[in-house]
Subunit: 110 residues, 2 copies
DNA sequence: TCCATTTCCTCTACTTTGTATAATAAATAA
DNA sequence: TTATTTATTATACAAAGTAGAGGAAATGGA
């Protein structure tokens, strides 16, 4: 067993990992910065939400709207979190990649 | 530095790794079996070639047709191999994933 | 010879993911 | 009550993922 006929797209994969890292404070702007800071990925905010929403539809994440904050422009944020199914898929994806990387050697000069 | 504005898709990633594993003997049917055996991925042969050809166009792989073999139906095979650019991208992809996985914990019960 | 069979590759059309831009919404400060 | 700020939503298009049918090259036996 392994595959299960459903895979995480490349960007989906990164997004789920960003959510895992950020924990309870995962909302659009923060997620975006996380990706930028950690792997220099410049995702537009629209790209981000579109993908997150698709994953919500598929049951890999859930979202909920929080309270507004007291700062200027501090409207309520939408927080995302990874579901059990999302985590399962993450785990599977990681395992598959580890298997495929097994024995593969990439030389220094690259 | 990191991103570079070009990423490996999920399937592209797996295919490049399959080529690395198979080395000089990477042709359609074998690659397909490699994916099936290692990660239980059932890719149609059409899906496989389409993706390989797109990657060739992008410069991540090259291909060349070999000699027919003496067996029944042993027509010439088309062999694929990963280019230096493909390897560079593989390496970058791996690094990015390692960074994103950093500190992420997935519990047993999944 | 020529047709059935085998192995392998090509074509093509469609779905899903990745992506950016523009628009909208809610909040606060003046 | 409007300008500004933070944040999300809508929409449209390009790229990647995918399957299925069809074509090509080889061999073995009528």
């Amino acid at each position: 067993m392994s595959d299960k006929n459903s895979h995480l797209g490349e960007f989906e994969h990164l997004l789920l990992l960003a959510l895992m890292q950020l924990g309870g404070k995962s909302h659009g702007t923060l997620i975006r910065h996380n990706l930028k800071d950690l792997v220099n990925r410049d995702a537009s905010i629209g790209a981000l939400y579109a993908t997150l929403e698709r994953m919500e539809k598929k049951g890999y994440v859930t979202s909920s709207v929080g309270e507004p904050t007291a700062e200027r422009g501090g409207r309520a944020k939408r927080y995302f979190e990874v579901t059990a199914e999302g985590k399962k898929l993450l785990k599977q994806t990681k395992k598959n990649l580890e298997v495929m990387w097994q024995g593969v050697q990439l030389w220094q000069n690259l």
